[in-house]
Amino acid sequence: MIRAIAEAEIAAELGRHDIEGIPFLAETAEVLERRLLGMPKHFAIGMAAMTVLFDGTTVSREGAAFHRLSVPARQRALARLRALPLGPLGNFTTFYDRMAPFIFWSHLEEHGQLDLALATERAGR
């Protein structure tokens, strides 16, 4: 599920609706999961529970659990979630919206691929 969110977030970050050839997706998801589980336990438990619950919320509208959806459908589901008045539960979307891009771009930077990615990515693929 975390991998599915990370893929949707990173594809959107690059202005894309697919994940073909995007590097460091597995690494981004792995660090994202580690970050989530590394939070104070009461917070991590809440975030993990919300992640699991969110997976099921797309069934009625999109016909499948979030992690089984196409990347564009996942991006739509995330956009709908962001638009909800979630109050403190908004931390859920904020965590993924901010940490996934930070981790992804950090990997590119660490491996010297930042300028290349910025120069060669083409929006709207």
């Binding site: 977030e9 970050e13 660090v31 970050r35 962001r82 919206d97 771009w105 930077e109």
Partner: protein, 485 residues
């Protein structure tokens, strides 16, 4: 359980603990420093990187308070503590601030003139310097915008070493954190250091503390329990961990009930001309026209950090907008508003999970103050030539004119902003008025004969500036008093 004896046990090796240990060891005391985190060199990972967060931040940097708006706070968890991960900015607080502290909790021996020799020692011992040749283009831009508004700015010194004119670059970053300055001095003077060791609780016989029970945990090795015995104990674990340890040890009088912080919001701004040069590190210019209530400044603005603070693209269907913004990173910077918070937080340990639960409200006054700060920052950035500023409200559209700026700044919403801080203090305030303090005027915990606190927990209120310089100066004052004045 192994036993280790020392004259002085120092718990925590951040600025408060490092200063305490260094001064005591150089005075000939047998000092044992215990640090929960690991011992890394100052340049073991690039500053503000993912790797650094893994190595040196508690919980990878993701700690949160609860209240109307959750506040993400950062704590160092390594030898050197916060000095290894912060922006290394150095300030002396205003005389007015120190006098207010003195009067608020009746601190003895706390005239500004009493403190200045300690600040001078800190500036000398920890290599506090201005950036030679100026602080860089982002800072220049901040200065230009403030100048256009008629507001004063200041180039802030840092705990940093720079090569002398004509000399080759330094081998390392130049950061003068505790692992570069006071910890090595303490070790050279004979202090012992136990990293990777968490103090579970203090041991007491009535009002006398006899030491602590600690557990050492290193990767790939079995956990080891230690009984640490000492004649005196200084707890210097920071404004969250210090009160937690005291409370776990049964010491609760005015402990962990008054945590305060500097809530901070960040926005990105785009300019027509390049202004983001990462070679300068953290831009060191700050607007000081609104101190002590508000500080405006610039942050380190690498692409990963820009991506973090931009968040998700708020305009549905505008899929390439964020990528375009990131491509233009040299014309984009991160700017912040830091306020003196008015809320007070309670720190408690949750049962079973043994994690801190901090309830700290972002008050209506805080929101107004942050809104005023954001308005000023927006005015400054537009005056400096910005053509778009992101909103501090999660998911909101970018701000392109004064009317939109006024609308957002006048009504910052509770619960819809990303608020963060690295400045936490006042959780065990010092002073002679024991109705409102947890320690006496020199950090000795009420009801004990030999237990001291010596970190930012002691501040009666906000220092209104980056706190590290004040932590070091107050710690030096207190440990010298302990040694006999």
């Amino acid at each position: 359980m192994k036993r280790i004896d020392a004259d002085l046990l120092v718990i925590g090796s951040g600025p408060g603990g490092a200063m305490t240990a260094c001064v005591a060891a150089e005075a000939g005391r047998d000092v044992l420093i215990v640090e929960e985190g690991s011992h890394h060199s100052v340049d073991s990972a690039p500053s503000f990187s993912l790797a650094e967060m893994d190595q040196k931040y508690r919980n990878g940097g993701l700690n949160v308070t609860f209240g109307g708006t959750s506040i993400t706070y950062l704590e160092g968890r390594c030898v050197g503590g916060g000095s290894e991960i912060n922006a290394a900015l150095y300030h002396r607080p205003l005389d007015q601030t120190l006098r207010e502290w003195r009067d608020q909790t009746k601190i003895h021996g706390f005239e500004p003139a009493d403190l200045w020799p300690h600040f001078e020692a800190v500036e000398r011992d920890c290599n506090v310097n201005l950036v030679p040749g100026g602080p860089g283009p982002a800072a220049d831009l901040l200065k230009r915008g403030a100048g256009a508004m008629g507001w004063s700015t200041r180039d802030i010194a840092r705990f940093w070493s720079y090569p002398a004119k004509g000399e080759p670059p330094l081998a390392g970053s130049g950061r003068q954190s505790m692992t570069v300055t006071l910890v090595p001095r303490a070790l050279r003077a004979g202090a012992r250091l136990m990293p990777d060791t968490r103090v579970l609780r203090l041991t007491r016989e009535g009002g006398r503390v006899t030491g602590a029970i600690a557990e050492r945990s290193r990767a790939g090795e079995p956990h080891e329990r230690y009984e640490l015995r000492a004649k005196d104990v200084f707890v210097c674990a920071g404004a969250v961990q210090t009160p937690r340890l005291l409370r776990r040890s049964g010491l609760t009088h005015n402990v962990g009930d008054t945590l305060q912080l500097h809530p901070m919001i960040r926005v990105t701004a785009h300019f027509p001309e390049p202004m983001n040069d990462l070679g300068y590190g953290v831009p060191t210019e700050q607007v000081d026209a609104f101190k002590p209530a508000l500080t405006l400044g610039c942050s380190y603005s690498s692409v990963p950090h820009l991506a973090l603070w931009m968040g998700a693209e708020p305009t549905p269907g505008n899929a390439s907008a964020k990528l375009d913004k990131l491509r233009d990173w040299r014309r984009t910077g991160i700017f912040y508003v830091a306020a003196v918070g008015t809320g007070k937080g309670r720190i408690r340990d949750l049962p079973v999970v043994r994690e801190p639960f901090i309830r700290l409200p972002l008050t209506t006054d805080d929101l107004k103050r942050l809104g005023e700060g954001f308005l000023r920052l927006g005015q400054l950035l537009f005056a400096a030539g910005a053509d778009a500023i992101s909103t501090p409200v999660n998911g909101g559209p970018p701000i392109r004119d004064r009317a939109a700026l006024d609308a957002v700044a006048s009504a910052l919403p509770q619960g819809k902003m990303t608020v963060s801080t690295i400045h936490l203090f006042s959780s065990v305030p010092m002073g002679a008025d024991d109705r409102v303090t947890g320690t006496d005027s020199y950090g000795r915990v009420h009801g004990t004969t030999n237990l001291y606190v010596n970190d930012a927990s002691l501040f009666p209120a906000s220092p209104a500036v980056n706190p590290q310089g004040t932590v070091l100066a107050v710690a030096r004052r207190n440990v010298l008093e302990w040694l006999g004045g």
